[in-house]
């Protein structure tokens, strides 16, 4: 199934394109469905396509030699991934996996690169998307370098609770992979936040009871 004009219009990649133009490029996209836990790309493999999330959530991650996972980004509906490999022609810098049932629009790397040649005014859009990626990664460097684990956990909780649309549930293992720490440390941080009445654990619901308090902790540099 080709992409819908409405979906493309909402993507930062295609800002400023007319409905007629989008209509003509929509046929370059095809739809793909991935079950929860299914791999989409593998780190080091050729970046053959650009992916846009229609529904569900995708994690972009790297795995150390010891098997430790670091999640770099969780891509939600409207977002895209594998951009870097598509534009530099290199291999995928991260692996990606579906965190829930995921529906994607996919465009082959060569078709995406041809689009940029055919429609040069897409170039600033591509620059905006890629610079946003750089900003996100710099924030991650800041988090991992200068913030204590509890601050990182606080930030993850706030970011994950904010925003619109349904999101897959987040496990303590995934929080650890996002924060660059061990699962046990996440458990201890959540316990501390709970004791301070910042959050409340209601079985499988994690309720942020004091958003201002959590924001303060999230913004504390070590």
């Amino acid at each position: 199934m080709t992409a819908t004009v409405e979906f493309l219009q909402a993507s930062p990649y295609f800002v400023g394109m007319s409905a007629a133009e989008l209509e003509s490029i929509a046929s370059l996209f095809y739809q793909k469905t991935i079950d929860k836990g299914g791999r989409i790309t593998w780190e080091g493999n050729p970046g053959e396509a650009l992916y846009f999330v229609i529904s569900g959530a995708v994690k972009c991650f790297k795995v150390s030699r010891e098997g430790k996972e670091q999640i770099l980004q969780i891509v939600l509906p409207g977002g895209s991934f594998n951009d870097v490999a598509v534009f530099d022609g290199g291999s995928s810098p991260t692996s990606t996996e579906a965190m829930s049932l995921v529906k994607l629009y996919v465009i082959a790397a060569q078709d995406m690169r041809k689009l940029i040649n055919d429609y040069p005014r897409l170039t600033p859009n591509v620059m905006r998307v890629l610079t946003e990626r750089i900003r996100h990664l710099l924030e991650l460097v800041d988090d991992l370098s200068f913030r204590q684990v509890i601050s990182r956990i606080a930030r993850i909780l706030l970011e994950y609770a904010d925003g619109v649309g349904p999101k897959p549930k987040l496990t303590q293992q995934e929080m650890a992979a996002l924060a660059g720490t061990a699962r046990e440390v996440v458990g201890r941080s959540l316990k501390t936040l709970q004791e301070d009445k910042i959050i409340r654990m209601e079985r499988n619901r994690l309720v942020i009871a004091d958003k201002a308090g959590l924001s303060k902790i999230a913004n504390t540099h070590s």
Partner: protein, 67 residues
């Protein structure tokens, strides 16, 4: 329906560590594979997830802001 931890049977090796660790007996082994039983006794302690060596058990949290 009560939400319970989720099990990825494709990843599961049937080692039984989750069933051993589950204090409330919500996980039992049947023919070499864990089976999750829906029970109010499960308090989401997440020990099953922590002991699983192949990341086959997931105890996810819905994260919400109060108010």
């Amino acid at each position: 329906m009560l939400e319970m931890p989720t099990l990825d049977l494709e990843k599961c090796t049937g080692c039984g560590k989750c069933a051993e660790a589950c204090h409330c007996k919500a996980i039992i082994m049947v023919e070499g594979k864990p089976v999750i039983i829906e029970t109010n006794l499960c308090g989401w302690c997440t020990v099953c997830e922590a002991v699983c060596p192949v990341d086959a058990l997931h105890c996810g949290y819905e994260i919400i802001i109060e108010g």
